[in-house]
């Protein structure tokens, strides 16, 4: 019973990681950027929602109306002023730039909020949902529903709209996309905006389900990176499967063995998979070899 509960909880929490990993993969696919700042941006989103709930007594879910556009704008700003000017050695330079952005954000948050742990509060946070003999925290269910909804929105945008078509074109072949008249710069800007806007939502979810401080970003980014590598870089479906898989494994190990080894198991699986498949579960071999 405990194991079943752990599996379902793993799926519920996995939704959040799947959403974030999808954003990461999308940004990577379009721009060849590993958005290393995503961890710090999620924590930034969490702190923004936290401030809104503390000072204006806004419901955390409602606070997203304010934080998401703000973070989207931040994403576009980062693209225009930091990523676009990079001309040489784009892959490494953009990753290091994102690393620097993450450090900058972490330092600022650390000054603004001290380093004590906080958690976003709402009246229903400690409620739980009973299904048969199983007991689930209500907030996990809500955040899973939100993540699933956003993932389907993301799917709709990528596969059913005109923008999605230009986005997929830029992912497949940026040069050819430019030749047929797609403004790849604009697509990149909007994609990074979406990717970072999603971090605002992810931040709210993270902040309601975990106690966090400015350096929590490392915990998030390390897991997200593992998920994205395991799923295969550039594969959205792989990211979804890997996220759910990882979180389920972690929760089951935590229940069966010991909570301390939960996250280590998470990483050990990555190593084992990479020994057999260096390109990840769903990655294509040699696609981006050089």
């Amino acid at each position: 019973m405990l194991v079943l509960q752990a599996i379902i909880e793993g799926v519920l929490v996995g939704g959040f990681y799947a959403l974030m990993a999808a954003g990461l993969t999308l940004v990577f696919g379009v721009m060849d950027i590993v958005n290393f700042a995503i961890g710090a941006l999620i924590v930034l989103g969490a702190y923004l929602s936290y401030s809104l709930t503390i000072h204006f007594h806004i419901d955390p879910f409602v606070s997203l109306i304010f934080t998401t556009p703000l973070m989207t704008a931040l994403g576009m700003f980062i693209y225009v002023f930091l990523i676009k000017p990079i001309k040489t050695n784009k892959v490494v330079m953009s990753l290091l730039t994102m690393f620097a952005v993450a450090t900058l954000i972490e330092g600022i948050l650390d000054i603004c909020y001290n380093s004590g742990f906080v958690q976003i509060h709402a009246s229903y946070i400690n409620n739980s949902l009973r299904i048969g003999k199983l007991n689930f925290p209500l907030i996990y269910v809500l955040s899973f529903l939100l993540s699933a909804f956003l993932l389907s929105c993301l799917y709709f945008v990528t596969y059913r709209t005109k923008f999605g078509r230009s986005l997929r074109a830029s992912m497949q072949n940026p040069v050819a996309a430019r030749l047929v008249g797609i403004d790849t710069d604009r697509v990149s800007m909007i994609t990074l905006g979406i990717g970072i806007g999603l971090a605002a939502i992810g931040g709210m979810i993270f902040g309601t389900t975990n106690a966090f401080n400015a350096s929590s970003s490392y915990d998030i980014i390390s897991r997200l990176l593992v998920i994205v590598i395991l799923g295969g870089f550039g594969s959205v479906g792989g990211a979804l499967v890997a996220a759910i898989f990882m979180l389920v494994i972690q929760d089951v190990v935590a229940v069966v063995w010991s909570p301390v080894w939960g996250s280590t198991a998470f990483y050990m699986i990555l190593m084992l998979v990479l020994l057999v498949r260096p390109q990840g579960l769903f990655g294509k071999k040699g696609v981006r070899a050089q």
Partner: protein, 356 residues
């Protein structure tokens, strides 16, 4: 290489490199400054900055041997730094080494252990390239951090471990660490220099430029990469050992610290990635500034902001780093001088213009 006939037929082809005399002079001055530094500034606060600068000097030079030459940016070398630290702390208590000179004997042991650990790690991570490589090295560092937290019996978990410090007088306490550090840093720089000038170094540079082509030319890229990876890990292990001895305590979050790798890459990029002395210059300047900020402002957060902002500025303004910028300036200076000579000979401005 496109050789211009006019230039290759000239009696003495001009060298586009900074002349030897200037380079050796600068090296000698730099060496003297480093040797005399703690004797002139014998204030412990300042010589502490010096010791940290030496530790970073050897670490970044080691890092550059792999990442600078092969172009594989490893952001997980804190693994080897941490292995050096934990090896020192654990072995010092296991072998019951009395605090004092004997502790320094742990340096070669840490170097050996870090190099040994680098072999399986390298075999795993070097199978992938580019983004996946960078991200995988970062992930590896978190794995080791988790091990350090979880294997409580050996590592003490989040309590960390202590390395007892020798009972030396405060006024001379830093000196042994400084000179041992300087010695190791010089070994690292000489190794880096010899690799750069060897056939092995050329194969690393070929991998950086185009790995598939290097392979097709018969370079065993896997072995070359792995060798460079192990050599760089050895120096990171030495740096970790020095750090653990000097600071006196070891904690998972500081031994396997993502910021450490950011620092290494900042230093290398600021000085000039892939050059021999560029990273050293970056290490001296930036680690000096870092310690200064830490002492002046106290908190780590201001320093994070300064670091992030500085890094963004460096990447924007000097993407190649200081040392390549200087040699570029020198080269264009030489070319311009040559152009003037050709112009005054009034025969071939057109040919001279064809060069570059």
């Amino acid at each position: 290489m496109s050789t211009d006939t006019t230039i290759s037929q000239r009696p003495t082809p001009p060298s586009y490199e900074v002349p030897k005399a200037i380079r050796f002079g600068a090296l000698a001055v730099g060496f003297l400054v480093l040797v005399l530094f703690p004797l002139v500034f014998n204030n412990p606060t300042i010589s502490t900055i010096g010791v940290f600068a030496m530790i970073f000097l050897m670490a970044v030079t080691g890092w550059n041997i792999f990442s600078g030459y092969t172009g594989y940016i490893a952001l997980g070398h804190a693994v080897f730094f941490g292995i050096g630290q934990y090896a020192t702390a654990m072995l010092a208590s296991y072998w019951q080494i009395p605090p004092g000179w004997e502790t320094f004997l742990l340096i070669p042991v840490s170097m050996f252990l870090a190099g040994l650990a680098a072999i399986p790690i390298g075999l795993i991570v070097l199978r992938v390239r580019k983004h996946t490589f960078i991200v995988l090295t970062i992930a590896l560092m978190f794995i080791f951090q988790l091990f350090a937290y979880n294997l409580r019996g050996w590592t003490g978990g989040s309590q960390g471990l202590e390395v007892s410090q020798p009972p030396w007088d405060g006024s001379i306490f830093n000196l042994p660490y400084y000179y041992v550090g300087l010695f190791l840093a010089i070994i690292a720089i000489v190794t880096s220099f010899m690799i750069r000038r060897s056939k092995f170094g050329l194969s690393l540079l070929a991998i950086r430029d185009d790995e598939d082509r290097a392979r097709s030319l018969g370079i065993n890229t896997r072995n070359s990469k792995l060798t460079a990876f192990v050599i760089s890990a050895i120096f990171l292990g030495a740096a970790g050992c020095m750090y653990a001895m000097f600071v006196g305590s070891v904690y998972p979050q500081f031994s396997f610290d993502p910021a450490f790798d950011l620092e290494l890459s900042i230093m290398a990029f600021a000085g000039g990635l892939g050059t021999i002395l560029g990273p050293s210059l970056g290490a001296l300047i930036i680690s000096g500034a870092q310690q200064y900020f830490l002492i002046t402002f106290g908190g780590a957060n201001v320093f994070l902001i300064v670091y992030g902002a500085l890094f963004i500025l460096i990447l924007r303004l000097l993407p190649g780093g200081v040392v390549p910028a200087i040699s570029d300036k020198w080269r264009s200076h030489v070319v311009r001088k040559e152009q003037r000579i050709l112009d005054s000979e009034s025969e071939g401005p057109a040919e001279a213009g064809a060069h570059k």
